[in-house]
């Protein structure tokens, strides 16, 4: 599962579960180091890993960018970013450990000389810092720049490892914007790196709660027996943000919610919710089950009736004036990009036949929440007078992914008093009220797993392609026949979304 050198180490007893898995000697070369993601998430995550003692002392971090920075300038930039955004307390002593391995290489992506310099710097780290020829390339850059960077890496030989060392490349979503582009992108990357050395980061999969879906389903006896079409009426997967597109206009317009989050996050959540039990939690076994369920997804015949698309308009949201999508900076006034997407998917397996999975995601919705709600069928017979159970809804098991991570169950209970009256109540498990602040950031987990070469949490190309296969017909239909419907900021999306469920005799849950 991990690097070969960790096996056969007499100091690593499999029973010794205290012993932290510390990444071996290595360096990380980061492209796009001045970007928002690097500044707010990646650099702080690297610091936090160092602080937790999980990065090797020999760790090196090379920034590659246009700025004319010295190593010291870069160190100062990392220092500021870490101080402002790290999760764990800032300590100069910890930072000193990192500082010795910080390097900066100035250059454009098409500048061969800069890549020669990069090769030199990486080699210097191998010698002076003992990074052992192990290097990860983190492409925190627009996909458009991938071909250039990959080509340069290949030309300078940085992509090939020698005698037992490794080279890995990390790419962030979006993995293309449709099946074709995803394949092109992959071709570009896999021409230069071996498929098993490509790590696609979907930070959602690094979240504790997402991993807890597996624990909830497969470590318990009480859920799996009802986790099928006999008992489940339908499943709602929601990923709502209360903010607008912010400064992502350049990326967002023309992409839209479906490609931005449904293709990756929501379909991954669907796969984890719906998949069969894997033979083991090894990456390949887990992937096999996810791929199977994604391959079994079917689209509604009438896409117009079973999908919805929206775009937020300006107004008052939660006591604050907000701009509509079309008024955001850098968005054309006639943009047809959706900021809300809802789709119904079915899964053609014995377990899920007839159970619709409703996926919705959007910006400027009622509140920030991501959750999976498994809504059960009504009890087949109620030995009560109809008025007694008038307030009784359907039982539900809700996995709250963020914020306030945990699990909620909803069921009926008798209202205290003389009358027999049944009403819905909820039972709540929170991952500790402050668990989120103590639990590692998803990026920490994923960066460490990548450096350790531990792949279960990273989607592979086939999953990416299967997801696009699901989404492509929908986005194609939308582009031709379904312009986004406006919706007020701070609501749960356009009326079309509500009508879409009403047609099935159901209603969206208010998360």
């Amino acid at each position: 599962m991990n690097d070969t050198e960790t096996q056969g180490n007499p100091l690593r007893d499999p029973r010794d579960r205290r012993l932290p898995l510390i990444a071996g000697p290595c360096s990380m070369v980061m492209f796009g180091v001045t970007g928002d993601l690097a500044r707010k998430k990646l650099l702080p995550a690297i610091y936090d890993l160092t602080n937790r003692g999980l990065l090797p002392p020999s760790f090196g971090l090379v920034g590659f960018g246009r700025r004319d920075w010295s190593d010291e300038d870069f160190a100062q930039y990392v220092h500021d970013s870490v101080e402002a955004h790290a999760r764990t307390p800032f300590s100069e002593a910890v930072f000193e450990q990192l500082r010795g391995g910080l390097r900066f290489v100035t250059g454009e992506f098409d500048d061969a000389a800069a890549f020669e310099e990069l090769t030199r710097v990486v080699g210097e780290l191998d010698r002076t810092r003992g990074t052992g020829g192990n290097h990860a390339f983190y492409l925190s850059i627009p996909p458009g720049a991938f071909p250039q960077v990959c080509e340069q890496l290949a030309n300078s030989g940085l992509n090939t490892s020698r005698d037992g060392s490794w080279r890995r490349v990390v790419i962030e979503k979006p993995f293309g914007h449709d099946l074709e582009s995803a394949r092109e992108l992959n071709d570009v990357v896999e021409k230069v790196f071996r498929p098993e050395d490509v790590f696609r980061i979907d930070h959602y999969l690094g979240k504790e709660t997402v991993q807890n879906i597996l624990a909830l389903r497969f470590a318990n006896q009480m859920f799996e027996p009802i986790w099928n079409a006999n008992y489940v009426d339908h499943v709602q997967i929601t990923m709502a943000e209360d903010i607008g597109i912010g400064s992502r206009a350049g990326f967002y317009d023309g992409i839209g919610t479906a490609r931005d989050v449904v293709q990756n996050h929501l379909l991954q959540l669907l796969a984890l919710t719906a998949m069969e039990e894997p033979v083991s939690f090894e990456a390949s076994d887990l992937r096999a089950e996810k791929e199977k369920v994604l391959a079994a997804v079917t689209l509604p015949e009438e896409l117009g009736a079973h999908t919805a698309r929206g775009q937020y308009v300006g107004g008052l949201q939660g006591g604050e004036h907000v701009r509509g999508y079309l008024e955001e900076d850098g968005i054309p006034a006639d943009s047809q990009t959706e900021t809300f997407a809802a789709i119904r998917l079915d899964i053609a397996t014995r377990r899920w036949a007839g159970v619709p999975f409703y996926l919705r995601a959007g910006k400027r919705l009622g509140r920030r929440v991501t959750e999976i709600a498994v809504i059960l069928k009504r009890a087949p017979f109620l030995p009560f007078r109809s008025t007694d159970a008038a307030d009784l809804g359907q039982n539900a098991i809700v996995i709250r992914v963020q914020p306030d991570e945990g699990v909620t169950m909803r069921f009926g209970s008798k209202v205290p008093g003389t009358q027999m009256e049944v009403r819905d109540v909820t039972m709540d498990f929170a991952y500790g009220s402050s668990f989120t602040e103590e639990s590692p950031e998803a990026y920490e987990r994923l960066i460490l797993d990548m450096l350790l070469g531990d792949p279960p949490l990273f989607p592979r190309q086939r999953e990416v392609e299967l997801s696009w296969k699901i989404l492509d017909p929908i986005t194609a239909f939308w582009a031709e026949q379904l312009p986004p419907t406006p919706y007020r900021s701070g609501t749960w999306g356009p009326d079309t979304a509500h009508e879409m469920l009403a047609r099935d005799g159901r209603a969206w849950r208010r998360p």
């Binding site: 100091l11 205290r18 510390i22 000697p25 450990q97 010795g100 103590e438």
Partner: protein
């Protein structure tokens, strides 16, 4: 918020908590475990702060047992903290005074979370054997901190003796970062087994002991411990000597260590500040299954005491005091005991006497009130204990304490200074009874000698001897007498009825300043002779008990008949 209850009971506290939950809805989120913190007199702020911080990762109900054993008046106060004052958990602080401490398990029973695992943590005074402790025996995990105890390495040895699956020690958790780093450093090619390993640190630091043991056990290479040049605590360095070069880790200051790999002169600096109590506790709570590696490492660190004669060795040789008959023996012994107790009280202000049963034992006890009065012993400073007891109902004629009841009454001792072993009528099983008595002994300080040979808790221990040579309920060739993992053990299938008994163990009977063996009658002459021979705990238990300062055989002439003539 904090609510205080004075002069309360456990069920009143439970009721109050339910009421608070209904009123404020403050503590309704899922708790994963109950954490018991056993504090006997020390400062509870630091452990409590650690528990509050750890509750963010492990939402728990924290019950602090803060005992004041010396209080004359018995009683219980409680403090309930929820919400802001309790992190993500809820805290109950029980301030128990005097006798309330006697049944700690029933004190906390109504306050335990249903079904949830129990973890018991002794921030300072580790019990002599965690699993034999009344609270420890109901816990999945038992956390001690040898470093915070009076004699760290002695405590660790004792924990080794009393180890049971589910124990762990913070001295082990303090090593996690070091271990992680050295495991990673080991993987630097060529990753071969080192020829020689050196750990730098003070040999009396429990973490140093455990680290050396772990390396030796995992690598199969001998590990040498070298004293550091400074008197800094904790592990200061690890060096792996390999043919291809050395890998060295050295602490350079409080915050960081330097890692030097072969061919790398400068060394790399790794931040590794000392871990806070909170981090240690949070790590301990992360897994509730037994830490088997710790068990292996602890076992490897100290060889188990297989030779039970160890406890008696190297102490002054016994002497004989021979009188005409049993009555004279008792009078002589009583005078001797009175004198020793007087010395103890003059020196330490308190005296601990262990009583026994049997003909001469009872006679001696009955002679004590007069003897103590004659010697001017302040009975207000006297504690009575028993070396063994028959596990039958209270007041039964078979019981050792029943036979000496007139003496106890004559001495006028209050109940809390008469430490009787439990009876069947006390409602505890035999095992629970032994555990309970062991805990009483621990709480009184009786575990101190159990930690280190050469320390005394009891001033005088009176022991009878059977014709088979047994003392207390340690019978020849009986399997129970081999158990030295606790200070008090249950004994089943005793060769002499009644079959069920409770007895002190070898380390404890050997932790008195003065031992007085009381024997009369010709039928015991042979055993007396054997008892004077080689130390042989298994064959002749009486030969294997020695006082730190003196061991005296009080014999009548018949019992002394087979002794070789003295020169």
């Amino acid at each position: 918020m904090i609510t205080t209850l004075t002069d309360t009971t456990a069920s009143a506290i439970d009721k109050k908590m339910t009421q608070m939950r209904e009123t404020f809805g403050a503590n309704t989120i899922g708790r994963v475990l109950t954490l018991l913190i056993v504090a006997t007199g020390e400062d509870i702020d630091a452990p409590l702060e650690a528990a509050v911080r750890a509750s963010h990762e492990h939402p728990s109900r924290v019950i602090v047992v803060d005992a004041d054993r010396d209080a004359e008046v018995s009683g219980l106060d409680a403090e309930i903290r929820v919400g802001r004052d309790a992190g993500a958990g809820e805290i109950i602080i029980l301030r128990a005074r005097g006798e309330v401490m006697a049944n700690l398990d029933t004190l906390i029973m109504p306050l335990l979370l249903p079904d949830a695992p129990i973890v018991t943590w002794w921030p300072e005074n580790a019990p002599s054997s965690p699993v034999h402790d009344v609270l420890g025996s109901m816990s999945q995990r038992r956390i001690t901190d040898a470093l915070a105890c009076g004699e760290p390495t002695a405590t660790l040895k004792r924990l080794r003796r009393g180890y049971s699956s589910g124990d762990s020690d913070l001295a082990w958790a303090r090593l996690t970062n070091w271990r992680g780093l050295v495991a990673t450093a080991y993987e630097v090619p060529p990753a071969t087994t080192p020829d020689r390993v050196v750990v730098t640190g003070r040999a009396e630091d429990p973490s140093v002991v455990l680290l050396a043991s772990w390396l030796e056990l995992s690598l199969g290479t001998e590990v040498r411990v070298e004293a550091p040049s400074t008197d800094a605590p904790g592990v200061q360095g690890i060096v792996l000597h390999r043919a291809e070069g050395t890998v060295s880790l050295r602490r350079e200051n409080d915050d960081s260590i330097v890692l030097t790999l072969p061919g790398d002169q400068a060394g790399q600096h790794v931040a590794m500040p000392e871990r806070s109590l909170y981090e240690l506790l949070a790590e301990e709570l992360r897994r509730l299954d037994p830490d088997e590696v710790y068990g292996d490492v602890l076992s490897h660190a100290y060889s188990v005491v297989r030779n039970l004669s160890t406890y008696a060795k190297d102490k002054p040789a016994p002497t004989d005091a021979i009188s005409a008959d049993a009555d004279a023996v008792a009078a002589d012994a009583a005078a001797h005991v009175a004198a020793r107790l007087r010395e103890a009280i003059d020196a330490r202000g308190v005296a601990h006497l262990v009583l026994t049963g049997g003909t001469v034992g009872v006679k001696t006890a009955l002679a004590l009130p007069d003897a103590l009065a004659a010697a001017g012993v302040d009975t207000g400073a006297l504690h009575l204990w028993w070396g063994d007891e028959r596990f039958v109902e209270a007041g039964h004629p078979d019981r050792n304490d029943a036979a000496v009841q007139p003496a106890i009454e004559a001495l006028g001792l209050p109940a809390h200074r008469v430490h009787r072993m439990p009876a069947t009528s006390d409602g505890m099983s035999l095992d629970e009874s032994a555990a309970w008595y062991g805990q009483q002994l621990d709480l009184a300080g009786g575990d101190a000698p159990f930690r280190t040979r050469g320390q005394a808790f009891f001033d005088v221990i009176l022991l009878g001897m059977g014709p088979d040579g047994h003392i207390a309920s340690l019978f020849p060739e009986h399997p129970a007498q081999q158990d030295v993992s606790a200070n008090v053990i249950p004994v089943r299938e005793s060769p002499k009825p009644p079959a069920e008994r409770i007895s002190l163990t070898w380390p404890v009977v050997n932790s008195a300043r003065h031992v007085a063996l009381l024997v009369a009658g010709a039928e015991k002459a042979a055993a007396v002779a054997r008892g004077h021979g080689e130390i042989d705990p298994t064959g002749t238990p009486a030969s294997a008990v020695r006082g730190l300062e003196s061991t005296t055989w009080f014999l009548d002439e018949a019992a002394a008949a087979e002794l070789p003539p003295t020169t």
